[in-house]
């Protein structure tokens, strides 16, 4: 008997209606909520919450709420089979992983050795070189020694 039950598992059958409900009300409410949240995003951008990072975080948080609404209602995750939601959420997990681990590196780079240039014999650690950024210099040429220094700093942590 159990065989038959399992047979049902992978092949959908009678009565498994996917969605023939009318969701218009949900959709209208959702689009209105998204409008309001867009307004909030713009307003929030006018306020300084402390630091660049915090401002960015808040903007991203609001965007995430909006994205969540789109995914849940327009993309039907609210009513869908669990599997599709799992697929979707897993992608977010790996995106978070990608970003956070890269930032582990970027944010902690060369901060291990504090810069103490006054002490003789101790390296100055990593000093972000003032980059000649507004000139897009041809490679190798006029990039100047600043460019070289920056390259070295990017390529090899100072010891």
């Amino acid at each position: 008997m159990s065989v038959e039950n399992e047979a049902m598992e992978s092949i959908p059958h009678h009565g498994e209606e996917v969605h023939t409900h009318n969701h218009t009300k949900w959709y209208v409410a959702n689009i209105l909520a998204l409008f309001v949240l867009t307004g909030i995003t713009v307003l929030a951008a006018g306020i300084n919450f402390g630091s660049n990072t915090v401002n960015l975080m808040i903007a991203m948080a609001i965007a995430t709420v909006k994205a969540g609404l789109v995914a849940l209602i327009f993309m039907h995750l609210l009513w869908e089979k669990g599997m599709n939601a799992v697929i979707f959420l897993s992608s977010l997990f790996f995106v978070a992983l990608f970003m956070s681990f890269t930032f582990f590196d970027v944010e902690t780079r060369a901060k291990i050795e504090p810069a103490t240039p006054s002490e003789p014999g101790v390296s100055a650690g990593y000093q972000p070189a003032p980059l000649p950024l507004y000139v897009v210099a041809p490679k190798g040429g006029a990039a100047s020694e600043h460019g070289e220094a920056a390259k070295a700093a990017g390529g090899q942590a100072a010891h």
């Binding site: 218009t24 409008f35 867009t38 951008a45 300084n48 209602i73 599709n84 970003m99 950024l133 897009v136």
Partner: protein
């Protein structure tokens, strides 16, 4: 007893017969086929999300390194056009989801109208982007070594425009592709291909279109509202 009964007919969409003409031979019924396509589409969306994640990571990276340049540079963008395009895309998502629902309820005429609306809103989005782009081209506010704007007062502003053009460019390509697919759907709907028994392509295109919208939801504050 060698002939095994297949669990009987699929009823995913209203009353598709298990051997409707859209059923491919290796599926047992249309419900199974529909669910498989759905999983496939979600997996494809996952790849899109990870693709864009690289762009976002690059953006965050450059933005944390050159915060001042990004703030300066973003003032060159027209915030109201950004808001306008955000609203346009949100509404297009709404019309798209209505198109899907109409198809599911077998209201083919409504489906057609909503598909046209979605296509049109995509066009509006691109038109607004065209206005913005031509402005930037005119001022030389361009990516990488094309950046020729003379009035920049913080070094590194071109990095912002590198990200701006790469991100909105790739997003714009997705809009264009989406519009192409929607045009195809419109054509097929005119041919009466879709009904509540079979509308998988509309449903899947809807998912794609929402994802493109969803990505814009993140792009908008990052590019237009840097603070």
């Amino acid at each position: 007893m060698s002939d095994i009964a297949i669990p009987a007919g699929g009823q995913a969409h209203a009353h598709a017969s298990p051997h409707s003409r859209h059923l491919q031979h290796h599926f047992h019924n249309s419900a199974q086929q529909f669910e498989a396509s759905k999983i496939g589409m979600w997996l494809f969306l996952v790849t899109e999300i990870l693709l864009f994640s690289g762009l976002f990571l690059a953006y965050f990276m450059l933005q944390t390194r050159h915060p001042q340049a990004f703030i300066e540079a973003h003032h060159h963008l027209d915030r109201s056009l950004g808001v306008l395009n955000t609203l346009v895309l949100l509404v297009s998502s709404f019309t798209m989801v209505m198109a899907v629902q109409s198809a599911a309820l077998n209201r083919i005429k409504a489906t057609l109208i909503y598909l046209y609306a979605t296509f049109g809103l995509g066009g509006v989005f691109l038109f607004v982007k065209y206005i913005e782009y031509s402005h930037k081209f005119h001022d030389g506010l361009l990516l990488g070594n094309l950046f020729s704007y003379k009035g920049a007062n913080v070094p590194g502003e071109y990095l912002f425009f590198s990200m701006y053009f790469v991100m909105t460019g790739i997003h714009g390509i997705h809009i264009i592709v989406g519009m192409g697919v929607i045009a195809y759907l419109i054509w097929r709907t005119h041919q009466r291909v879709f009904s509540s028994a079979y509308y998988t392509p509309i449903d899947l295109t809807g998912l794609y279109w929402h994802l493109v919208d969803l990505i814009w939801i993140f792009l908008f504050p990052l590019l237009y509202l840097v603070s």
